[in-house]
């Protein structure tokens, strides 16, 4: 399943939010990848997420594939939309 999301927090996908996203993503069995502008990387890796340098208002797609894809997509979109306050 593919999930289109937008970075809402002011500082963008910095170390802390990237870390939170990678950590959450790693909790799921599904294969979770992030795709931005033709680049596809593992969303379970903080290094990969940070190196994308996503800023506020930039859009990206999460590609989630696996048995718990439904829960994963709900959890991860909540995290992104809550501006990583969780």
């Amino acid at each position: 399943m593919e999930l289109l999301l937008r970075i809402k927090n002011a500082e963008g996908l910095h170390a802390r939010p990237a870390g939170m996203l990678a950590k959450k993503a790693a909790e799921f069995q599904s294969n979770i990848q992030i795709s931005v502008g033709g680049q596809v990387k593992s969303a379970k890796s903080i290094m990969a997420l940070m190196s994308l340098g996503l800023k506020k208002d930039q859009e990206f797609t999460l590609i989630i594939d696996g048995p718990d894809a439904e829960t994963a997509s709900r959890t991860l979109s909540e995290l992104v939309n809550s501006e990583f306050k969780a």
Binding site: A10, E11, G12, H14, A15, R16, A18, G19, A22, K23, S42, S45, I46, M47, A48, M50, S51, G53, K55
Partner: protein, 582 residues
Amino acid sequence: MPAPSSQHPFSPKWIATGVSKGIASGAPLLLHPPKPIDLSRSYGNASEELTRFAKAHARVVSNIESMIEKTQREVGSEEAAIFEAHLMMIQDDELLAPIRALIEGERMIPEMAIQKVFAAQIAIFESADSDYLRERALDLRDLERQLHEAHLGHASAAHLTQEGILVAEDLTPSQTLLLDRTKVLGIVTEKGGETSHSAIIARTLGIPAITGLPDALTVLANTPCIAIDGKEGSLFEVNGSHERDYFDARSRDYHAELKSLDAYKGRPSVTHDQHSILLMGNIGGISDARSAIESDAEGIGLFRTEFLFMGRKTAPTLEEQRKAYAEILGLFPAREVIIRTLDIGGDKPIDYISIAKEENPFLGVRAIRYCMKDLPLFTTQIKAMLLANQWGNLSIMLPMVSRASEAIKIRELIDRCHQELSGTPGYAALPYKLGAMVEIPSLIFELKELKTAASFVSVGTNDLMQYSFAVDRMNPELKDLYSPYHLGFLRMMKLLADSAKDAGLSLGICGELGGQDDLLPLWVAMGFDKLSMTPNEVLSKRRLLSKLTLQSCRGLLNEIMASKNEHEIKILLETFHRGLES
């Protein structure tokens, strides 16, 4: 080396610069700067090299975990977040998998594999178009260094295995932050001065420290035990039991003294005849603020905001500043916290602040003179303070004010910032105070006019002396001219105090002289309302204050105002203080 003099009955090996008072004795703990890594080592076999890497990696992971725990406990969870990110980075397969592949597949020694993989990743970060990401390359360099150090088996300041006196070339801010305070009895550094980061922290923590001992790491390599006196700056080799007993006793005295001061915690700061004066803390950030609470300071008389701006590539954002100010305001819900606006100049370069090279930066575009030329930077700082004010009692202090009109202009700017903020969710117009530092003598003659915009003044004594005497305080050649015992200087302080009271301004000192024992009676007599100092000076000032009476202080001040010269003033002060001891 000639035998220098010391008050101790042994001859010191060295007399250097004492930067934090107190006596300590113990084994020197040598903190060597990192050696260059050895890439010429030959490859053993794959499983041996993988194990070697795994061990170094495990050590770094456990180091970072304890840093997280320590930072959370001592500094705050906000600051710990960066180490949590480090932990995730160092455990990330994007880094580990290629390193292991190089070790196993390419028969590369781990040291080389680490360097290669980190270099590639650092290149990605450094080529990013975001300042933030480019800065994160520094985090990667830090992690790489930690991995290399783990391979070399180096000691780190955070992981000392025994008690002793830390000996280092100099301490970086992060090393100082992570010092194991339960094991560091004293600090000796080869480089650094009284205002270096490690000296400030040592004073805040009450750890005796001396600096300016070149080659200390080499010279002390085979010395089993040393003692230091952070007041006179002396260092002794402790050889026999006679010396050991002596310094152990003195160090116990010092700790007993610290303990006896504890009795003054929770008491008001008053003279024997109940005349009160507030004793506040000078701080540079949140960890100092915590020491200020520990020392029972009655609020913050000077929060230097420069540290927030230094050592980074872009200015801190509104939100970053708001958080930093709110955290400190929130620690003192019932006390005043005086935050000074950015005080920088050509002598302290910051990457993103461009001040043209000046002949004389101390008389140049600095502090508010710069801020008024960079309004986006200045208004961001002001707005962050106003937003943070809901957590405490904000006072804004302006550095380098030479005339009342500057403060009046800035008051208008603050009002505009306030108007722009109104309507922001969560923002409420709360009362705040505005004040000016008195560092430039000309302001002393415009205090009435200043009162139209400001409600307090606070004397920056170091700069006021420097600008009054036209003496660079860092120039050792002119040390004698830079003296607070100058009759003219003390008369100027008296004139300032009288004028401030006439104008209806609250009056304080936030410079070094505010925390100096011998001058305290003079500030009391002149009518200062508050003195702000290094937090660990607060309790000893409170004890001294309890021995004074307003009348005795006024008597001393009158004698000094009528004296003839510096020599007489020093004698009058000495006699007065000897009289208190008996």
